[in-house]
Symmetry: C2
Subunit: 318 residues, 2 copies
């Protein structure tokens, strides 16, 4: 049920230009399309709330991109290609038209960058903060999805990009950490989903790092029924993250919002994996490995002793 007085005009003005094949110009009850034949469907959904997942004064276009990209990152983790998305937007009644224009402009840019289009959605009012939800559909070759459950003892543990920028970037965006170049805040506000990196045959398991490296590697361990060791000095950190000082290393290892990939790579495919990722322009780093044992993550300091971490660290989930 529509409850925003200008809902239809608003949708026509800002969202209809984003509508892709099957969306029926957003004027019907649902989108209809023939899925690519002979492919599995991959679907994921994420919600973002103002004041919780983004800062109230973050530009709407960046918020839109972050929402789309966090979902793209989930598809990237499974080795899936994105297809289209549905979006629900709940906003205060006095939200200015310029907010929607900026929000839609951000989506338009990322639709072009990632090859997706809008399939449908809903726009409502809320007495609370901006509340967003996005469902992303994608496809993968039948049985070709990379799951969390495939890691085996002996596999290397690899990550894309750099780790910790998201958590440090939140501090920077809040004015609680120096960020002279703005690099860290930008990393917090705008994830870079690592599409086309996770691929069956090269990796045995994977997920995206959104809740903190140690906790997320713990999820891989739990799903795969093995343990993992992380060599903290091998964890790649950006120049800006290193400039913050070693006191921030624990936060880099446990903070959220990186949207890099953590991947299990069998030794036999490591060379091909590196070549593939490099060909995609994405740096990958081996930070440890999977070992036999009850599910859990051991993080080792430079001297080889286990690190005590504020959360995560060695833990048993059973």
């Amino acid at each position: 049920m529509s409850d925003l007085p200008a809902e239809f005009a608003l949708i026509a003005r800002h969202f209809r230009p984003l509508a892709g094949p099957g969306a029926l110009d957003l004027t019907d009850d649902a989108a209809v399309f023939a899925p690519p034949p002979g492919r599995d469907l991959v679907v994921t959904a994420d919600a973002m709330v103002g004041g919780v997942h983004f800062l109230p004064d973050d530009p709407a276009g960046l918020v839109a991109k972050k929402l789309l990209r966090t979902n793209l990152s989930d598809l990237a983790a499974m080795g899936a290609a994105p297809l289209g998305y549905l979006l629900t937007v709940s906003v205060p009644r006095d939200t200015p038209d310029a907010w929607f224009a900026d929000f839609a402009a951000g989506l338009a840019e990322d639709q072009a960058a990632f090859g997706v289009s809008l399939l449908g959605g809903d726009t409502t009012s809320t007495p609370g903060p901006v509340s967003l939800s996005l469902t992303l559909l994608g496809t993968v070759a039948p049985g070709g999805a990379v799951l969390r459950s495939g890691a085996k003892p002996g596999d290397g543990l690899w990550v894309t990009g750099t780790i910790g920028d998201g958590a440090l970037g939140l501090l920077a965006a809040q004015g609680r950490l120096a960020d002279p170049t703005g690099f860290l805040a930008d990393r917090y506000r705008l994830p870079r989903p690592r599409m086309n990196i996770a691929r069956q045959g090269l990796v045995s398991a994977g997920m995206d790092v959104s809740d903190g490296l140690v906790q997320d590697v713990g999820h891989l361990c739990r799903a795969s029924g093995c343990a993992a060791e992380i060599m903290s000095i091998q964890v790649p950190r950006s120049e800006a993250a290193r400039a913050a000082g070693e006191a921030y290393l624990p936060l880099c290892l446990t903070g959220g919002d990186d949207y890099e990939l953590a991947l299990a790579v069998p030794p036999a495919s490591a060379a091909a994996f590196i070549a593939h990722a490099t060909g995609q322009g994405v740096a990958v780093t081996r930070i440890g490995g999977f070992v036999a044992g009850p599910p859990g993550v051991r993080v080792l300091a430079a001297d080889g002793t286990p690190m005590a971490l504020p959360r995560g660290g060695w833990s048993h989930f059973a």
Copy 2:
């Protein structure tokens, strides 16, 4: 990124039992499944916000059902069969576990009733009211979706069930209208999506009535490029709605939340359409017809004169 301290336990306890094939127990980054071969996909999404789309003290199980059913109603309008859904739930941090238990119990009942299962989603906190979003996936025979755009002058305008109970039910739930049996409030809180009624070959166009009969028939007219006439005395009202008195007729014609279907039925298929709907246990009523002319809706009073309505009525959208 998870931000509810007990998010994982909460998902495992309440949502994992709802997970269907392909959902990977809600423990991976996305759901993966092979879509039914040779079918078109139909996807729709709706958001609901506490204090806007439901009353703050509405039972969580009913809210969950309403959210699922409003989406089912969109699929019903297109003649599609539901497959599965993704759900995002943003709740205040102090939301009691019992709320989730009731919410999930409502979903479980409706999953059984409508043959759908949970594919994925997200749970977050919010400083605002409960904010929900549901994306429903379904399928239809290739090219078999019933669209809004197929109505032709000469087609009859038909509705399922009774019209106006949703708007009167909101008044009743707010204590602003007598509702001795509770029938009206129940109709507001729990839509009955009319699955398996809209079918190509029997109907030429359709949509669900969620924003008010007159406005929604206006959407059919705009999409189909013709006009419609509604005979107000033919519009089926429930016994409870009639008991409220004729003063409420305009509200019945323009109020929202009915989740019945408005369908264009060619005269040649009217008999088959009635037989089909009756076989499904759903009453259908002809309330007027489509006529040539610029898109718009004329509502006629018992004496044949156009009714003036608070919103809707005869209007041009061009």
